[in-house]
Symmetry: C2
Subunit: 232 residues, 2 copies
């Protein structure tokens, strides 16, 4: 999971907020949550999901700390979004015309499977599959082509990490509203502990090197393709 | 200039329309016009600009065939957009909430300079410069990163052609609303004739090869970047 930290209310009102939340109880659960959209909505929903709690269909009150499975965690976060919608939605829609938030929630709880979900503003959600093994939220277009070309269900986690960083770099170069530092979390299936958690700043040696090598490789690559034999 | 040909009114209503119009009077002028946005608006504006004509500030009636300079061509097209706005804008805005069209217009007239303009829905326009030597309209995000990285004022036209095709390929892979065939036009400064005009279909040998080589190069490039020494 990789998230930038830039939020903005216009280009003259830019701030840094963590958009990757991680929850780890070693041996029991790891849940990562990334958010996009309206920051007040995502913070309110996360607060409900992690602190206040939500009553699940079975009548039990749970937070992400206690929920018995990763799918229920997505459901719980979706219900939290709906609770925020009930309280803040009417005013937001009247004033801004929209209630807009999205989340990626992934991880593993106990002996259950590792799963990844995308939660929508409406509180409903979809799950990543072998056909569509990655999700993006927020400003996704600039960074999507490299993922579409290179990322598949069989991609090794070390390659996926590089692809995520390349994708984020492409986005940051083309859109001011996405910016460093970026937060990275790697979780390996069945480990039930966070494999890597790292905030990457401008001067990170690995990321700087990757950006440079990728740019150089692209320049070499397009120059190496022969020109057409069309006359012009 | 490179334009796709896909238009859609929803994913179940897709059609092929030429979005690159070229006007050539050898020895006198070459003008290329690409459009994005509402097809009825762009066709109506182009009809006015090329057939009906517009009265310029000096009181003379002109079309793109007769206009005395390339900047006046952009101005004329902008005025044509405003004429369409006056006739169709109120109904369109009432029914769809928007009046949305954009054009790229470039070329050369007589002994004047070669110039490139982007014309907005409001009929006003901007010009490409050394700092910002390329424009994109329509679905621009997927194809922008490679241009941002590799295209500059000094890029040779043969490299620019490859970059434009790579950028369009990235867009077509990630967005169904952009599709083959694509129309290409190359104009060389001071030639006052079209250098190359070509419609590129699915089976075009050069474009097929470029797509394959680019994909292979990207795969090799990201694999060649060493992984981080972070433990995970």
């Amino acid at each position: 999971m990789l998230a930038d930290t830039r939020t903005n209310a216009g280009v003259d009102n830019i701030a840094t907020f963590r958009k990757l939340a991680t929850l780890e109880v070693p041996g029991d659960r790891v849940i990562g949550v990334m958010s996009a959209g309206n920051l007040a909505i995502s913070q309110a929903a996360l607060h409900i999901a992690t602190e206040t709690g939500i009553k699940l269909p079975n009548g039990e009150m749970h937070t992400l700390h206690s929920v018995p499975g990763i799918a229920q965690a997505a459901q719980l976060l979706g219900e939290a979004v709906r609770e925020v919608y009930r309280s803040d939605g009417p005013v937001l829609e009247a004033q801004t015309g929209e209630f807009k938030v999205s989340f990626l929630l992934g991880g593993q709880v106990g002996t259950g499977p590792m799963r990844l979900f995308q939660v929508y503003s409406a509180g409903n959600f979809i799950e990543a599959t072998e056909d569509t093994p990655f999700f993006q939220i927020g400003e996704h277009k600039y960074g999507k082509p490299i993922l579409d070309r290179a990322a598949s269900f069989d991609t090794k986690v070390s390659d996926a990490l590089k692809l995520a960083l390349i994708s984020m770099d492409s986005t940051m170069r083309s859109n001011l509203s996405v910016g460093l530092p970026i937060d990275l979390m790697v979780y390996r299936k069945d480990s039930l502990k966070i494999g890597l958690q790292r905030r990457i700043f401008e001067d990170d040696p690995y990321f700087s090197n990757l950006r440079r090598e990728w740019s150089d490789a692209l320049s070499r690559a397009y120059r190496a393709i022969p020109g057409p034999d069309w006359e012009f």
